[in-house]
């Protein structure tokens, strides 16, 4: 009995060996840092490492929340993500409907390719493109557009109040193509006989959109929105670090949790605060992901992540 079980397991040994290299990588790259989150409760000492450093209880966390930064980065992170979710959903659906209703397949392909392309750019390239528009002395906005409108030049990289608008626009420019893709595939999945029946009944285009497309898009919309809400504590580090060119004068509207954690980490004196902010992000972020998934599961089981 024992022997046959051992023999049976032996057959599977090659499978476990194949799994092993990737598993080792995940242990090092993903699981070890999870354990390393305890650094938020330690007085970090470079020579002693994470696990050797002395415990300091909630000191780092208390310090973090005593600063005004904690509020600013939380506010910015949530504000930007909420704006991105709303705009990407509304515009994403609009573009998807438009793209599915173009004159011919060829135009459809051109639009789809064009709007997807910026999504593949690195944040560094994105910051160069934005700089060509917003540079104080050579940017096309200050040199051509504003004078043509009779307005004064603006020092974009030191005026915080413009950045909420700029970052929302830049993010839309970059990611709307990707965002509309999933809606396009949902629309393409709708049974064409629905439209034919609607047309026979004399339904207008708007009626078709409202009564056929929206109902069939609703599960996708709700799932995507909930999943994004689950990730509302994480932001695109590149967008917030590279595009504003790390300019200190506009931190009040460009600093998010990810950029705050990075900057604290690089100024070695601030590892404690940075670790506290990172811990705060990981834990609240994880709770939100679980919550979002729970809600998705409630109304559409097949769309839940797990």
């Amino acid at each position: 009995m024992m022997k046959s079980k051992a023999k049976k397991l032996k057959r599977y040994v090659p499978f476990y060996l194949m799994f092993l290299p990737g598993a080792i990588y995940l242990l090092i790259n993903n699981y070890l840092p999870m354990a390393g989150l305890v650094v938020a409760f330690k007085q970090y000492n470079v020579r002693k490492g994470i696990f050797g450093s002395a415990w300091c209880g909630l000191k780092n966390i208390r310090f973090l929340f005593a600063t005004p930064d904690a509020w600013v980065i939380t506010r910015n992170t949530i504000f930007y993500n909420a704006s991105f979710i709303i705009i990407n959903t509304v515009l994403g659906i609009m573009f998807a409907i438009f793209i599915c209703d173009t004159i011919n397949k060829r135009m459809q392909k051109i639009y789809q390719s064009a709007i997807l392309f910026p999504f593949l750019m690195s944040a560094v390239i994105l910051s160069y493109i934005v700089y060509a528009f917003l540079s104080q002395s050579t940017g096309i906005v200050n040199n051509t557009i504003l004078p043509a409108l009779g307005l004064d030049a603006v020092n974009w990289y030191s005026e915080a109040r413009y950045w909420p608008f700029l970052l929302v626009f830049i993010n839309t420019w970059k990611s709307i193509g990707y965002g509309s893709l999933i809606f396009i595939s949902s629309i393409n999945g709708i049974d064409p006989t629905f439209y034919e029946a609607a047309k026979l009944d004399g339904a207008t285009k708007w009626q078709q959109i409202r009564n056929i497309m929206f109902p069939s898009l609703t599960p996708t919309i709700i799932t995507l929105t909930l999943m994004s809400v689950g990730r509302i504590f994480y932001s695109d580090f590149g967008l917030f670090y590279q595009v504003p060119r790390n300019s200190g004068m506009i931190y009040s509207t460009t600093n998010v949790i990810d950029t705050y954690v990075y900057r604290g980490l690089m100024k070695q004196s601030n590892v404690g605060m940075s670790a506290a902010a990172g811990f705060y992000q990981s834990v609240v972020g994880f709770a939100l992901v679980l919550l979002a998934n729970l809600i998705v599961k409630k109304f559409s089981k097949e769309n839940a992540l797990f």
Binding site: Y25, G36, Q242
Partner: protein, 296 residues
């Protein structure tokens, strides 16, 4: 009659999409135009869609005397090739066992991979580990190892593809013939899984090519190890530094900033490979996304 009620909406749809397509394309046009604009024109008139004077000087400079720049391209290409190859191999090796339904402990292994998508330790512990325990700071490993060598998402996508596209009967036949698992992996799984492996390889390659974070975190002193993105990023930092400080280090920072046209030329060359892989990427996405996803 039907034509008419449709065309009104189509005109609106096409107008909006044409305008947005132009909004998307123009910035890339500006970037490529400024890379072939004469530097003096650029400084005097700023960036422009109608440059007064064109000049190939930036590209000539890169080819003739841009040792630092060419080296950075070398690092980008090398890391992208090695990283992608290792990534695809590791992912396929990991995805195959996960796709075997009768494998004991499969649920646990699945969860082990999947959990990394839900929760992560973030940059602080990662940074302290990679620099403290593994000592990768200022070595070429820094560009290769952290974050991009394996992604749980890719593994899950490949696993789902294996499960749905490779019939179990093939495995059974091979096992009856006495083929080893290694042989089955090489002769059945890899060839039949090619479409998904190429697609996921494209994603991995894109992440390596576009990555600037590893260089930012881990390459501090040894700037020979910069990739193109790091080089571009460093130029931005130097310009910011010049704009905000007035001490004696300024000259050394200033001397390491190439002209605007050269910066734009470097950026343009960094975009080129993305144009090459774009069709593969799009082909997948236009029919993909519904592939079955990451659920297990």
């Amino acid at each position: 009659m039907r034509e008419k009620s449709f065309s009104k909406f189509q005109i609106l749809a096409n107008t909006v999409m044409i305008i947005w397509t132009i909004i998307v394309i123009l910035p890339f046009l500006l970037l490529s135009l400024s890379s072939i604009t004469d530097e003096n024109t650029l400084v005097a008139n700023g960036y422009s869609f109608f440059p007064e004077k064109l000049s190939p000087a930036a590209y000539v400079y890169i080819i003739k005397s841009g040792v630092k720049i060419l080296k950075a391209y070398g690092v980008s290409i090398l890391i992208t090739l090695i990283g992608t190859a290792v990534n695809v191999l590791l992912s396929a090796l990991m995805a195959y066992p996960l796709s075997i339904k009768r494998l004991p402990g499969r649920r646990f292994l699945n969860f082990f991979v999947f959990f990394t998508m839900l929760f992560n330790g973030g940059i602080v512990p990662s940074y302290l580990m990679w620099t403290g325990i593994f000592q990768i700071k200022d070595t070429i490993w820094a560009q290769l190892l952290p974050n991009f060598l394996l992604s749980a998402w890719n593994v899950m996508m490949i696993r789902t593809y294996f499960m749905t596209s490779i019939p179990d009967s093939l495995y059974e036949a091979a096992e009856i013939d006495g083929a080893s698992q290694v042989k089955i992996f090489c002769n059945i799984v890899i060839p039949l899984g090619r479409p998904i492996l190429v697609t996921m390889g494209t994603f991995a390659g894109l992440s390596y090519w576009n990555d600037w974070t590893n260089g930012l975190y881990y390459i501090v002193k040894n700037k020979n190890l910069y990739n193109v993105q790091n080089l571009l990023n460093q130029m931005v930092n130097n310009i910011q530094y010049l704009a905000t400080s007035s001490n004696s280090n300024v000259t050394s920072a200033a001397s390491s900033i190439p002209s605007t046209a050269i910066q734009m030329a470097i950026a343009f060359v960094a975009i080129l490979p993305i144009m090459l892989i774009f069709p593969t990427f799009q082909k997948y996405y236009s029919k993909g996304l519904t592939l079955g996803g990451v659920k297990g």
